[in-house]
Amino acid sequence: MPLLTLLLLLPAIGAVLISVLPGQQIRVIRAVALSAAAAAMLLSWGLLSMFDTGVAGLQFFEQVPWNPRLGTSYALGLDGFSLPMVLLATLLCFITLLASRSIRERVKWYFVLVLMLESAMLGVFMAQDWTLFYLLWELTLIPLFFLIDRWGGRRRHQAALNFVLYTMGGSVFMLISLLVLFDVTPAHSFAMASMGDGARTLPEHTQVLIFFGFLIGFGVKMSIFPIHGWLPLAHVEAPSPISILLSGVLLKMGSYGLIRAATMLPEAIAALQPLLAGLALFSLIYGGLLAWRQSDLKAMIAYSSVSHMGIVLLGIAAFNIAGLTGAVMQMVAHGLVAGALFLLIGLLYERTHTRDVNDYSSLMQVTPRFAFFTSLALLAGMGIPGTAGFIAELHAIIGGFERWGWLMLLVSVGMLISAAYSVRTIGRLFTGPVRPRMRDIQDLRATELTAAGVLATAIILLGIAPRPALELMAASIRQLSANFAGL
């Protein structure tokens, strides 16, 4: 069986297996889910070992014609952009399942939905045909809707509906753009490669119009200002493990899609560069300031995600080697950091049943492990040297500096703001006088420690030795940025 199809199907097989198991067998269900996710993770790491970093194009490519009259096909492939995302997605899904101990109702369907979600997300990152991409993109909504709506917090119904409406609203624009592109492409095919070839020949204003459709579609998912309205509510109301996936992987689908769209429409990017950079910088500062205003920890992380995705957009807008490297690196780094933060805050919430930062105090003495990992994740979010965030921000700033020069000072304002809320949160959570309510909190258990430790190790490894990761994406980025050398 082709490897990528196997990777796509592994979680789905797990989901099918669980759905036929009796609902009382929670242990078995959890074991099956974990092993399916672990198998997917191992397979993706196996793919990494087979991946040739010198090749810019697609690898492990497989294609089955689907509907020749419409030009659709089932096509999967990996390149330097999608492989890091696949690795991130499989890792975070495994972590999510590890952290799902707190889910006690309807456990069976919860795991089924998470595994379905994993399959769909992996498919989005691997798809090399726009119909397949769109199909799987929409498919992620269904499990997420139920996950938020059934297992979420107090305002879960509103959050779930909101999330789906926003994303589908954006998808409509994406679909229109895709249909227009299909229409103007001489080959009349939905394959990413041939569609891109056709699109590149279009005049600039057509490209710009088409790109706007993609920008709205992907921007909603990526939560660019001002279409990020779904994000705070969904992140806060979703069950904590799902928040890990939402901000860790789902946001990345948006920026990944944007990079794919940009590949097809280079002239549009060149024309819209100031707009994209403006949006990016504004998102960066806007998200940061709002994160600073939140006393709800999950809301704070949600808004900090808006801020961090601003850096991704900035790197994409710069569209030079450094900028793109920064963007992809930031996608990975933010996936790890936000994943770690939602994991830890979620676990903390399980124990204290409060997310208000003012209620916490002096956890350093009670729960040193929490203190260590949370501080590490917050500092990594700030971009402290030695963490993955630093490498990403540095590249994005260098890329931006090559394009816009001193305007990048605004990025450092954003960093300052992120330092303000990160350090504030560390201080609030872990220092100060001991409160009676915070006196008997259990520290991280073994499995939770494993989950947090894996993420922390990845954050630090990528920060200290980023070279392998950078080499992984280098070839694809070089090829992509070559499109823009003359623009």
């Binding site: 509103q158 509906l161 909101n162 409406l165 926003y166 001002p226 990020h228 309205g229 779904w230 705070p232 509510l233 806007y286 300031l289 709002l290 600073w292 205003r293 939140q294 006393s295 930062v357 003012n358 105090s361 703001i417 303000a420 504030r424 609030r428 100060g432 006088p433 409160r435 009676p436």
Partner: protein
């Protein structure tokens, strides 16, 4: 043999490091282990001296080796700083003198410091000082000389404050050290100027700069070195610090202020002799300052009542004479004077503690001619008010300025950046916490200050954040989702109405009629 010259200053420094490390791991504390400490120091000093003597002998036979480079210390762009020694006759003879006197003083201290509290500390600092002085006189570049210069200054500071539990000792140490910093600063400026204009700080290059640079620049570099020398050798107007430096144990006074360190300035002048000869104005200045210092030393020395003070003022006077000799162009004579004076003064200082026992009579009275001149007598007794003038001219204004700046800092800067108004009001973290923690354990005045900024930048940030939050809530969240809900509901209601109307037959009929009309 000459290749091993770098060992000469390094050996005593290694001994110092060894003593320090062993002390930290508690290997040589206590009276019984004094011997191990002193042996190490003396062995290192002896080895250094022997090495120098061998090199001296070689120099006598084959001539002085001159400039030797051992390697590069650092290089940046066109600048390179080498590790090099200048082993000419001046450097070698000075090094011999330093090593010999240091060794003798070390040996003397073994008995003198016996059962003293800081025996190990004393030997460590003295060894460090010996290494520093050797480095100072042997160094081949101004940079290395400066390193020795500074290390000597630091060890001087440490030994003046030897009895660090006595406030006078520490105050005097600070005073002496701070006065020395004036000279150090000007030494650094001289190094920077040489690097900037000459691209090198090697002594031969600096000495040859007369042919390269215009006189003004040479004069500037030279004045900076001169100032450094004046301070280190305690010449007027910087003379008073040396009297304060006598707080240390007698052997240290002997070697620092009697014999060696006080002559470092003279050494620097002699080292720079070729340059001084180019600029007569500076020679004149040297001579004048030297003469004044000699007079100052003489007069202040005459009115002292204790041996050590009399000796130190006499030293100042003699060093002043050396400056005078240099000013008159007699550099070799000054060098001989230096060596003779160093040896003699070291002997005097070391025998001073026993002098009382030996003499059995009180000090010599103040000479009659001085007694009759009241004003001169007073002035001498007051050391010509140099200390007071320095206090009044430098220390007081600086202190007032510092006070004003601190109050500015507290009143204005702290408020601007949002720190608590007076840092001195809360002296410890515990106090701060006590101040903040209310009765119920809830932090007072701190409840929910999330999103509250302090200081100008913080307030600005808060303002913008509040604005953006309003925008987010009213336009993005309410306008977005709740707005969409309302819109959908309203649309739905209207469509229901249309549906209701359409379900009535008359409107259906009307609709069909209209359709027909349109089609037709």
């Amino acid at each position: 043999m000459v290749e091993l010259a770098w060992l000469i200053p390094v050996l005593p420094m290694l001994a110092a490091a060894w003593i320090g490390v062993v002390y930290v791991i508690a290997g040589n504390r206590g009276e019984a282990l004094e011997k191990s400490t002193s042996r190490i120091a003396i062995a290192a000093a002896t080895l250094s001296l022997l090495l120098i003597l061998v090199i001296d002998l070689l120099a006598l036979v084959r001539g002085a080796p001159g400039q030797i480079a051992f390697g590069s210390w650092l290089s940046s762009g066109v600048y390179e700083i080498r590790i090099s020694f200048t082993l000419d006759t001046l450097g070698l003879s000075m090094a011999t003198l330093v090593a010999l006197l240091s060794l003798l003083t070390l040996r003397f201290s073994v008995n003198y410091m016996h059962r003293e509290d800081g025996f190990q500390r004393f030997f460590m600092i003295l060894s460090l000082f010996m290494g520093a002085m050797l480095l100072l006189v042997m160094a081949g570049s101004a940079m290395l000389t400066f390193i020795g210069w500074e290390l000597a200054g630091v060890s001087s500071y440490l030994l003046i404050a030897y009895a660090f539990d006595r406030p006078t000792a520490t105050a005097n140490a600070t005073r002496a050290f701070v006065t020395n910093r004036i000279g150090d600063a000007s030494f650094i400026i001289a190094i920077v100027l040489s690097l900037f204009w000459l691209g090198s700080v090697e002594w031969p290059d600096i000495l040859a700069c007369g042919g390269v640079l215009e006189t003004l620049k040479v004069g500037l570099i030279l004045s900076c070195f001169l100032l450094a020398a004046l301070v280190k050798s305690a010449q007027v107007p910087f003379a008073p610090w040396i009297a304060r430096a006598l707080e240390g144990p007698t052997p240290s006074s002997a070697i620092f202020y009697g014999a060696l360190m006080v002559h470092a300035g003279v050494y620097l002048i002699i080292r720079l002799a070729p340059l001084f000869e180019l600029i007569p104005e500076l020679m004149l200045l040297l001579a004048v300052l030297g003469a004044i210092t000699a007079l100052y030393g003489l007069l202040a020395g005459l009115v002292q009542t204790d041996t050590k003070s009399a000796l130190i003022f006499s030293t100042t006077g003699q060093v002043g004479l050396m400056f005078l000799e240099c000013g008159l162009g007699w550099f070799s004579f000054a060098a001989w004077h230096l060596a003779a004076h160093a040896a003699w003064r070291a002997y005097q200082f070391l025998s001073a503690p026993g002098l009382m026992h030996l003499m059995g009579r009180s000090n010599r009275p103040v000479p009659r001619w001085l007694q009759h001149r009241r004003w001169l007598y007073t002035a001498s007794l007051q050391r010509f008010w140099l200390d007071n003038i320095a206090n009044w001219l430098l220390i007081k204004p600086v202190r007032y300025l510092a006070r004003d700046i601190q109050s500015f800092d507290q009143q204005v800067v702290n408020r601007l950046v949002g720190l608590p108004g007076s840092a001195s009001a809360v002296s410890s973290l515990a106090q701060w916490e006590q101040f903040k923690v209310g009765e119920a354990g809830r932090v007072v005045g701190d409840s929910g200050d999330v999103g509250r900024g302090r200081g100008v930048a913080g307030r600005l940030m808060e303002g913008v954040a509040v604005l953006l939050q309003w925008f987010e809530e009213h336009l993005v969240l309410k306008g977005g989702d709740e707005g969409i809900f309302n819109l959908i509901q309203r649309l739905g209601r209207n469509l229901e109405k249309v549906e209701l109307l359409l379900s009535q037959p008359r409107y259906l009929f009307l609709l069909i009629l209209i359709t027909f009309i349109v089609i037709l």
